[in-house]
């Protein structure tokens, strides 16, 4: 799964630690999601969507673009 997390985070001028604190996860988890090394669970994905106040499919999308 690909995502726009890094771009959205930059738009809000948040560090990985800032976002991690809001999501109650470690900074390493945010980093792993941004780099596509870890796909978050559905609850965490919804939490991320809630933080950025946008639909989940505007942040996460399949690798093949389908």
């Amino acid at each position: 799964m690909k995502n726009r997390l890094k771009v959205l985070r930059a738009e809000h001028d948040w560090t990985q630690a800032d976002l991690a604190a809001q999501l109650n996860v470690t900074r390493q988890t945010v980093n792993a999601i941004e780099k596509g090394k870890y796909d978050p669970s559905l609850p965490l994905a919804f939490k991320i969507a809630g933080v950025f106040q946008m639909p989940i499919d505007h942040i996460f999308f399949p690798k093949d673009g389908a």
Binding site: D13, D18, N31
Partner: protein, 140 residues
């Protein structure tokens, strides 16, 4: 700029459960030592005392296990997944090692086996697996 104050909720939860795990592991290790050396050194193989210490050992073992699960639940999802994958790898490697190790006396390559050696393999495998999986996921 909308800077967010980092929450220490996750870290404080992890520290608290890690402390609990450390304490209960220490108590369990002490009860293992008591069970190992006690019958010979302190109570001269008195059966009832040994049975009571076995019960104590099982109880402290269960407490350590609950402390471990509390610790696991206090982790964030990437940490938890890392540990669960490491446990799966440890289970497989320990199973393979145990079968080979158990067959060595039959093949007359070893005089006898010691179950504690399996614990060492388990512990070292788990530690290395956690490190390997965590680094592969979180390397910058």
């Amino acid at each position: 700029m909308n800077r967010i104050t980092p929450s220490n909720h996750l870290n404080s939860g992890l520290k608290s459960t890690a402390k609990g795990l450390f304490i209960f592991t220490g108590i369990w290790v002490a009860s293992v030592a008591l069970l190992t050396f006690g019958p010979k050194v302190w109570w001269e193989y008195h059966v009832l005392t040994t049975l009571l210490v076995i019960a104590l050992n099982l109880l402290t073992g269960a407490m350590m296990l609950f402390a471990f699960f509390r610790h696991l639940k206090s982790m964030d999802e990437l940490q938890r997944q890392t540990h669960l994958e490491a446990m799966a790898l440890t289970l497989g490697i320990t199973m393979i090692f145990t079968v080979v190790y158990g067959s060595l006396p039959t093949a007359q390559l070893l005089a006898d086996t010691h179950p504690t050696n399996i614990l060492f393999v388990m512990g070292i495998t788990y530690m290395l697996a956690v490190m390997r999986i965590w680094i592969s996921r979180t390397s910058e």
